[in-house]
Symmetry: C2
Subunit: 152 residues, 2 copies
């Protein structure tokens, strides 16, 4: 089963494609979609949508995992992330995959066994789980891997 | 010049198409896009996107006006509105129209001349400006008309 994890943002959207076969997980692809800061917000959202659509077509996942959005200290960031998330989710529905929403707690628990784990600990576990040479960079790609893993 | 106004939401998205010719404005069309509450969030976002894309193709506006999102008392609503807004804006960029973002204050000022006008007052002025028989219903359609007018 192929799971596609997404960590939405405006400037950077992390993505990861993992496969689960016979209880084992493997990272097939991960990285980020970057948008240029100088273009209008609507065009940045389209750029993210089009890149996500392309990745979905390439990898054809059964499930798409996205972190749920809750209260955020920075309201402006929360709105920007929610907008990106909305554009991405519409694209996932167009592709036809099932969406799994996971809380930050569920994602941390899945990767580390603890809800109090910090970002670094999650990243280290992501490296271990997928037997990667290094901690995946940038953070958004590692977050997308953790999100995909939590849905596996 | 044709201006398309959008008031994004999850359950109900208001839209309005107005035309400005020789300094006079006319409402060509207005209404709402409703999504079914029982379908998954991603599919509701897709439904809104597809309806907006269809309306843009029919009316071919030069400008699309959307209210800016700021701090909102209800965080859950703000996130839902932002997600809908993101899906809609990506669709507007795909169509190729220019996006004009207007603050609630700018919209009120344009319709009533006062930044302290209440919802009812804005709606009454929308009725007057577009010489409509009644106040446009539901509220989201009236809001979309006010938004489009503010961009005219």
């Amino acid at each position: 089963m192929k799971i596609f994890g997404i960590d939405p943002g405006t400037a950077t959207t992390g993505f990861a494609v993992i496969e689960k076969i016979a209880g084992r997980v493997e990272a097939l692809d991960f990285g980020i979609i970057s948008t240029r800061p100088r273009i209008p917000p609507a065009e940045r959202l389209l750029e993210i949508s089009e890149n996500i659509a392309e990745l979905l077509e390439i990898h054809r996942p059964e499930i798409v995992a996205v972190e749920s959005l809750f209260f955020c200290k920075n309201q402006t960031t929360a709105i920007a992330v929610a907008q990106s998330r909305g554009a991405v989710l519409a694209e996932v529905a167009r592709f036809g995959a099932s969406v799994v929403e996971l809380t930050p707690l569920q994602i941390k628990m899945a990767a580390t066994g603890s809800g109090r784990a910090d970002k670094k600990q999650v990243q280290k576990m992501v490296q271990k789980i997928f037997a990667l040479e290094k901690i995946p960079r940038p953070d958004d790609a590692a977050d997308a891997l953790a999100t995909a893993f939590a849905a596996s």
